[in-house]
Symmetry: none
Subunit: 139 residues, 4 copies
């Protein structure tokens, strides 16, 4: 039998609140999604002005980061032509995201969930996702 | 040009908070989804213990209620064998929900969004969705 | 080699105009879709106030009627429990519609396309679709 | 509550008429799709000779441009190997289009919808989409 640790809804709200604070700071309204370690959605918010396309993209970035235990930008780095995971961006019906903005959430070395952010540039999305994790880990 | 009113993220949080309070009261952890009047997701929470299947079901109940401007249980009542909308439950790739728990949110006679709840019985889901609307309308 | 006759874009506009006139008359804003005899979309209009869920439903009603050469309400009549096409409503990813409002367009005994209407009751949708065909056949 | 402006059906017809005039001028029959600011289809026409594959492509270009508030060719410029959004073309089940021909429609600084064109070269598609917008803005 396995015993699994995963984000609960309170953790998820802290992640979203931390991400939202950074999004407000940089002035980019975002879609923010939190998934558990099984890749399943726990919480989501589309800030006023967040993009409609980013709903699915944020959820799928979080899905990828949590379920593959890998940041989406890290997939991007190895998915170019000739790269070892070239073409993986169309896997799982396109849900496997290789664009930055999805990060696994780790506690004591174990992935307990993920956060996915979309609506800005991939660099902004990643910065906002990291801010969510930082806020969460501070408690 | 049309001018449309729709739920913002603050409204959506009020709807979720009201639904969650009722879910706590009846002791059934729920998935709760809020969509805008175009059927697009604004906010989502899976309470601890909410069902994984209910993630999509709650989102699709809210999508149906907001985008079709009709409660999902009202579809259920006319979709049985011999009913006028028999078979509509498999429309839109199965996203058209006819199980209770999805309600349109109306303000001054216009549908401005929807709420979808899933994890309990359809009657419980509907009760919790209505509690969300009641809390929102009270402000 | 086959020679096929099919609706062109001018025909499709006449079908939509006729349907729209009836929709205005009964006061129900509709989604109206026209497909060719291969089931492929030729034209579509969502009247102001037409339902977002009805976009796909109107297109799929027209797809069904033209590509199956059968009115969607006729499918409904034989798709109930125990009926010969029971369960067919979930075929083709749910695109096979058995709810009224989709009609084949026939010219000299051959199906040359279809019209699908959605946003009202199935009876209203069917009435509006028929009005489109009547206007088209009158020229 | 948010108050949103969006294209109505009359606006959508003007956009299509303007695009169609340019398509006639350059002699390339096109598929032309108009979506509202939430990415939902308002109107569509396939000119006689427009490609069947372009039905979905035109709709998805318009969806992308309106819902992401960004021209599809602008996505194309940053989605090549090594680009910041590399791989995003397969997002949302492949609906996120990075091929030119999808443009957001802006009025007074706000995106109120989108136009998507397909059947020619991406440069032709883009030129035809822009002609639709120009005609619409002229009134």
């Amino acid at each position: 039998m396995l015993t699994i640790r995963r984000l609960d809804i309170e953790d998820s709200r802290k992640l979203i609140a931390g991400a939202r604070a950074k999004a407000d700071e940089i002035g980019v309204p975002m879609c923010i999604a939190i998934t558990d370690e099984g890749g399943n959605l726990v919480a989501f918010e589309r800030m006023d002005g967040g993009k409609v396309t980013s709903i699915t993209i944020a959820i799928d970035k979080s899905f990828t980061a949590s379920a593959a235990k890998k940041a989406t930008h890290a997939y991007g780095e190895i998915s170019g032509p000739g790269g070892p995971t070239y073409g993986i961006d169309s896997a799982i019906g396109g849900r496997l995201m290789v664009v930055g903005g999805g990060l696994p959430v780790e506690v004591e070395g174990a992935v307990v969930g993920g956060i996915g952010v979309s609506s800005g540039t991939p660099a902004q999305d990643r910065e906002v996702a990291q801010a969510g994790i930082d806020a969460f880990l501070k408690g």
